[in-house]
């Protein structure tokens, strides 16, 4: 590379198999490829590793079991309760899909589909609509009491109810922007610091080691962020489901 690469170039969507139907571009892209790879990795992990059901699990068998029990207990049971087990497959798929999207994106030259607002927003708006429908289906008009906080003096409700409604309605935005922004910022930083290496090395070799060191440290931070943001995304989904099921 002659010039320093644009830090945002890594996010460019490149069609791999161009498909156009009725003037709409639905090409199979690098983003779609990583989604498929994430799906394959998860499927192989869950199916192949549990093929031989040993009583005492080996290393590979215990991985899907740990994931299963983590989502079933720490996400569903602790946040929703027994009623939440209905949504266990969805939360599990969501958590693992986002987690693998984040982690696979950290492989050099791969692509992070969770760094695109439309993807995170697509998931968030689906969750938002589903949670709202579940709440209405379970409670009917009583679902609106979700916007009325307990133990608050009546006059304050005039102020608080609109705030509650607003905070409810911006949930898809906060949920999607949190994940998207974390991924965007992390990957941009990695490329910015990587971009310092070659220009510095052309002058002095030793100072060029500093951006490399920073990138190594950032990489570990990004691994943490990848896991943490997938966890946050899933746990917020669980909390929203809990609101819809239990109304606070």
């Amino acid at each position: 590379m002659a010039a320093r690469e644009n830090p945002l170039a890594q996010f460019i969507i490149r069609p791999l198999v161009p498909i156009h139907i009725g003037g709409v571009d639905i090409s199979f892209t690098n983003s779609a490829l990583l989604m498929v790879i994430a799906g394959l990795v998860l499927t192989v992990l869950m199916l192949a590793a549990s093929r031989r059901a040993a009583l005492v699990p080996g290393r590979w068998q215990s991985l899907p079991e740990m994931l299963y029990e983590f989502v079933a207990k720490s996400l569903i049971d602790d946040n929703i309760g027994p009623e939440g087990q209905r949504y266990f497959p969805f939360v599990f798929t969501l958590f693992m899909f986002v987690l693998l999207g984040n982690l696979l994106g950290l492989i050099p030259y791969s692509f992070t589909f969770t760094s695109h607002i439309i993807v995170t927003f697509g998931m968030a708006i689906f969750i938002f609509i589903a949670v709202t429908l579940i709440g209405i289906a379970r409670h009917g008009f009583r679902f609106l009491t979700l916007f009325v906080p307990h133990g608050v003096p009546k006059p304050l409700l005039i102020l608080l109810v609109p705030i509650e409604v607003l905070s409810y309605c911006i949930r898809p935005l906060t949920l999607s922007i949190r994940l998207f922004a974390n991924m965007l910022a992390g990957h941009t930083m990695l490329v910015i610091f990587a971009g310092f290496v070659v220009p510095l090395a052309s002058f002095y070799l030793v100072p060029a080691l500093f951006p490399i060191l920073i990138d190594v440290l950032l990489y570990f931070l990004e691994l943490l962020v990848a896991v943490l943001q997938a966890f946050v995304f899933a746990i917020l989904t669980c909390l929203y489901l809990n609101d819809a099921i239990h109304l606070h």
Partner: protein, 163 residues
């Protein structure tokens, strides 16, 4: 900024929906039930094993209790046998002792009787010898014959005086 290129949105949303739905179906129909069953089977196995172990422990405790009961009964019956045998032996010994003592007493009585008889026979012999000697001595000294009755009276008196 590539994130804001709206023309890529339909493709991203479509492939997100496709991969997510396929993945959801695979997970909910295939993978999660399988893993869940493995975990459930393991939990059941462990519970079953624990149950079996506690049943075996109870059984072992029952066996130990029965063993201890049998041991106590055996010890008690052994003590009974020991006591009975001791009593029987003591009784037999006492009986034999008594028999022996009776026999010895009877023999002693017989022997004493014989001694008394021998003694009186010897005394009678002595009396007749003494009467003969006395009569002869009187005859020699006085030349008189002494009546037998007088001699016998005298001797009896003398014997009575000396024992």
């Amino acid at each position: 900024m590539p994130q804001l290129v709206v023309s890529t949105f339909p493709s991203q949303l479509l492939w997100l929906a496709i991969t997510f739905v396929v993945l959801y179906v695979l997970m909910s129909r295939l993978a999660l039930p399988r893993v869940g069953n493995i975990i459930l089977a393991r939990r059941n196995q462990i519970d079953g094993d624990l149950e079996k172990a506690s049943a075996m422990k109870a059984e072992a405790e029952a066996v130990i209790a029965a063993y201890e009961r049998a041991l106590a009964a055996a010890r008690q019956s052994a003590q009974g046998v020991l006591k009975e045998t001791g009593d029987r032996l003591a009784a037999a010994a006492a009986e034999r002792h008594k028999l022996l003592a009776d026999k010895l007493a009877a023999e002693t009585a017989i022997a004493e009787k014989r001694i008394v008889e021998a003694k009186s026979a010897a005394l009678n012999d002595l009396k007749s010898v003494a009467a003969e000697v006395a009569r002869t001595a009187v005859g020699k000294l006085t030349g008189e014959t002494v009546d037998d009755g007088v001699v016998a009276t005298a001797i009896n008196r003398a014997v009575g005086e000396h024992g």
